[in-house]
Symmetry: C2
Subunit: 263 residues, 2 copies
Amino acid sequence: MDIHMLDTYAKSLIKNAAFDIKTSLSSELIIESKSEANDLVTNIDKETEQFFIEHIKTDFPGHRIFGEEGFGDDIKDLKGYVWLLDPIDGTTNFIHQKQNFAISLGIYKDGIGILGYIYNVMEDTMLSGALNGGAYLDDMRLPKLQASSVEESVIGINARWVVPNRYVHHEGMVNLLKIVRGTRSLGSAAIEISYVVTGKLDAYTSMQLSPWDIAGGMVIAKEVGAIVTNLAFEHLELLDADSFIVSRPGLHEQLLTDYIKIK
Amino acid sequence: MDIHMLDTYAKSLIKNAAFDIKTSLSSELIIESKSEANDLVTNIDKETEQFFIEHIKTDFPGHRIFGEEGFGDDIKDLKGYVWLLDPIDGTTNFIHQKQNFAISLGIYKDGIGILGYIYNVMEDTMLSGALNGGAYLDDMRLPKLQASSVEESVIGINARWVVPNRYVHHEGMVNLLKIVRGTRSLGSAAIEISYVVTGKLDAYTSMQLSPWDIAGGMVIAKEVGAIVTNLAFEHLELLDADSFIVSRPGLHEQLLTDYIKIK
């Protein structure tokens, strides 16, 4: 498989899907709740995933698709080529803000991320990465991230993870809040990962993310030297939901050693 | 004073200042801390405030200026014409992200807000409002906000206000987190107010803001029917720092009655 051809194909598919999503903003959305009341999905999330699947299945018949909306394959392992897709990452932003949402896509071969994309639909910016090929914001190659201290850091973290919750000890999070320069919460994992990759945030953490939320971002993050693990300091398997942190080097270890303690 | 002339003048000044700020992004910033380690200021914040003051003092000699960086007048009351200015609202974003910051300006006559502006510098969008003249995003008139329920709301609130702090009882904030659809934190009061005004957030609250952070936004917010008070349900005097909430109608009362209790 020619990786350049695959890259060109994936970018083209993403841009076509984004065009359809933008067009849909002028018509009324059909909004449903999934497992939890606040886990929303729209007809556009579903149609976008189906658009990807139709094309990938036709053009790459041996490839499998692991998508948020469940129209893809029943994935139990990452053997062969697997496309991990969130058609709209940040659905609540898509509904409420009509901005700050992204198409997130990672292409993995035998469990190794070979291509990753985060396309900010309304900003029309393509963040991409290829294994050992560097990371790009559109056509601009991104520099490697430098280390930063926790005191000078701005961290992406939602308020729900600093109050008592079932995933982390909140006392450490409260201490973290006291020492950092600031926190932000943008409502889209993919966009928050893109902020870390481009140096706009120093770290981003969440207690519970799905493989399709992070698969694309992980490929890109590694190319700029960001460290990506779960909160137990382990490699992410990308088969089930897990905790997540992406961070500048140095800062990552300090955050997990001194502040963020999973239960 | 012809308000249309004043409006045209203010918009022109803001756009000129924004051009200089954008130009400055290519040179190195000089960053200092103010009262607290994380209360940052740059040479560009200062130069921008001085740019406004020079022009306003020359063209409107009787007007006074109440600005974040302190180069304006020593303001103890709002008699006559007072320009309340934050040259860069979201300085930490300006430094870290080079986006998500705004010029915030309110023009008040005898304590009444007559013109308000939030200019998102990197997005190049001008949100403006005139007393009884409506609110506009660039040339598009904004609709009145409709009521929303707390369960369907996305609220702008920083993580520091949901952990024990000296301003609000955090227990109510924890209950609020459990019931809302989501929370966001963008790091600029002016931009978060602009999100409420345009319907992208349903409310935004902070425990401690200064007059220049909110003066422009208040004029605009009132024109779309948003409710603006401090957290004791009182009118904001705009002479000292105070707590703050801007919200869709209906939601405002519910938030203050059931969840946000000041100490």
